[in-house]
């Protein structure tokens, strides 16, 4: 399909409400998923929870190959498949906000708003689309994008480097995990193929020459920048979380809770106490909700109209 036709189709698809059986696909949680994939997946899950869009997490051994772009996670919503955080954010932004009242279905414009309507007859259905960065002005939005790029270029690349280019980690953790669903000899072939591909990418961006210490140093600098921006605030911008918060949470939480060959990486993060409390706050607010009784996944929010 041409680009224009694809854009048209996705607009039409976005006009449908968020279905109940939306699913997020990632590699197998216990045996297969790697640090970088787990971080990306957690970032998307956090973002969707912040938007109040319910999604079911499905673990598949071939999630990476199922994804249209080759990267996990990806979501399957209606009959649309979208992968990676950036496109998913765009996709949820375009969701039409609509509601059912006594007069029938009415659609809001394609731009996003938070919307609440309570039908006089007593039954109401709330369909919410979200853009978390709505409240930001242009300067802040640009800043948010810049920090997201920082996380992607520094933290994610450092995770990939440590997983695949550090021989000790690759041999003990990464290759056995990556190849665990496959039989011999396919497991060795696929693991080495992936390693070769990642190492080639690292040398293309100039990271091949770096030593492990330099990578840890880069991570430390990145955390310092994030910590400075966060300061004493609850979230990075205002009091509401944005996609930057979801992304940072995904990466930091995964690094803190994953066992690697050495603890240096998580120690770097632990040295910034505001980042630690930030992670705990998001985990408490968004990932322990199911323990609260009687909470509807489509929760009611006060309107900002």
């Amino acid at each position: 399909m041409s680009l224009a036709a694809e854009a048209f189709v996705s607009q039409i698809a976005a006009a449908e409400p968020w279905p109940e059986n939306a699913a997020l696909f990632q590699p197998l949680k216990d045996d297969q998923v790697l640090l970088s994939d787990c971080a990306s997946s957690l970032a998307v899950q956090a973002y969707l929870r912040m938007c109040n869009l319910p999604v079911q997490v499905c673990c598949r051994a071939n999630a990476e190959h199922m994804s249209p772009s080759g990267k996990v996670p990806f979501i399957h919503v209606g009959n649309q498949v979208v992968s990676e955080l950036g496109p998913i954010v765009q996709f949820t932004k375009a969701k039409v906000v609509g509601c059912v009242s006594g007069q029938g279905l009415s659609n809001g414009p394609l731009s996003c708003k938070r919307h609440l309507q309570h039908c006089a007859e007593g039954s109401a259905v709330f369909l919410q689309g979200h853009s978390l960065s709505d409240g930001l002005d242009d300067v802040q939005r640009a800043e948010m994008k810049a920090y997201m790029e920082l996380v992607n270029n520094m933290l994610l690349t450092a995770e990939l480097y440590i997983q695949w280019c550090d021989e000790a980690t690759a041999a003990q953790i990464t290759r056995p995990r990556y190849s665990s669903p496959y039989p011999w000899p396919l497991n060795h072939i696929l693991a080495y193929q992936k390693q070769w591909e990642v190492r080639r990418k690292m040398s293309a961006i100039g990271w091949a020459g770096k030593s492990l210490e330099q990578v840890y140093e880069d991570v430390s600098q990145c955390c310092q920048a994030l910590s400075q921006r966060l300061g004493t605030q609850q979230y990075f911008f205002n009091k509401q979380p944005t996609e930057l918060d979801a992304l940072v949470f995904g990466h930091l939480f995964t690094i803190l809770t994953t066992q690697l060959t050495s603890d240096e990486l998580s120690d770097k993060i632990k040295s910034y106490s505001n980042l630690l409390s930030f992670c705990r706050r998001i985990e408490h607010n968004y990932f322990q909700e199911h323990e609260r009784p009687g909470l509807d996944p489509l929760s009611i929010r006060p309107s900002l109209m």
Binding site: A61, H65, L186
Partner: protein
Amino acid sequence: MGTVHARSLDPLPMHGPDLGLHPDDAELVEAEPETKQEVLENKDVIVQRVHIDGLGRTKEDLLGYEIADVFMAKNLIDVMKKSHEAREKLLRLGIFRKVEVVIDTAEGEDALPNGLDVTFEVTELRRLTGSYNTMVGNNEGSMVLGVKLPNIFGRAEKLTFQFSYGTKETSYGLSFFKPQLGHFDRNICVNLYKVTGQFPWSSLRETDRGIATEFNFPIWKTNHTLKWEGVWRELGCLARTASFAVREESGHSLKSSLSHAMVIDTRNSAILPRRGALFRINQELAGYTGGDASFLKEDFEIQLNRRLFWDSVLSASLWGGMILPVGDKPASIADRFYLGGPTSIRGFSMYSIGPQSEGDYLGGEAYWAGGLHLYTPLPFRPGRGGFGDLFRTHFFLNAGNLCNLNYGEGPRAHLQKLAEYIRWSYGAGIVLRLGNIARLELNYCIPMGVQIGDRICDGVQFGAGIRFL
């Protein structure tokens, strides 16, 4: 190409010798005794020596078996017959370009008065030959470049490398063939291959890299093949719009399987037979020698041909198959059966019958298909004796079904499921035979019994291939 219903990406037929003559066209040369030789016909002769001239790298022990029979001849006619048969056998080995026979009276000191010397003058094939062919598979065509090393070690072994670029597939492969000394029909063949295929009816792309070892041997009138195959399969979506059911099958898998095939073929030709029958049965067991694909697959094919009045032929064929997954994982889309198209049930689009999801055909676990054909010469027989003989008109009736089975139920329930929703079609058309290689058909088809989801091609349909229902 090759066995179509299981949509297997069989490599190009790399085994077997190139037969010098078409089996239909060959007739045994009968020497008519002239009046001058009448005396010799009843005279006993003894073959004293058999020479083979022109050998280079071929080892002699190989040839001893092929020419042994010549020594048994008792009279002149017998000598000529046996020499001709020995010549055929030598050509069948695929190591000689030319074989000529010279029969002469024995000479030399120990020559008997009724002794004969038979000399085979052979020209060996070159050590390295290249070839460029075009090939026709089932509704696809391809260009094949080949490099062949015949007779590399001197005992009719053959090493072939082929590269094929086609409308649906790209593949390359290396093949090694070795016959048993004295029994050419018993041979071993080892293939290494990489095949990529695109299947738009399922929005699927498949890349297979594999190694296959097969052992062929005849038992009485049947031909058996035992094969072990290990394949690394990579499946992917052909387009962004592939259905989710196909997307779920993407990824890598390893299939290691043992299979056995038995063929009884008494037809006079594989392409448009006039008489004879074919019975082929194939079973494959995967998963017990490694890999993660695990199933038992059965497949059979029956064809009967009978000549009727006025040079017309009645042909009936029946195909069927079933795949039984072992364990709890369902059969992969690459192992299931497909049905429909100009080479199976005519009137339907290629492989567009059966279970489907959003327009992508997923194949089924069991199928059957039957066909009844009447081939007649063209009306008014234009071009008789020449070009017109390659064409035949044909009237057909095809029927079949493809579905998934619920394995918890018994065989009665399976048969019932296969018997409901039968798709069938009838029509007429023209068939063109391309040598002994392929067949082209142009048919007018009327499909019936069409179910929701099937894609039909009613009206004129064109088909090309080697194996038709």
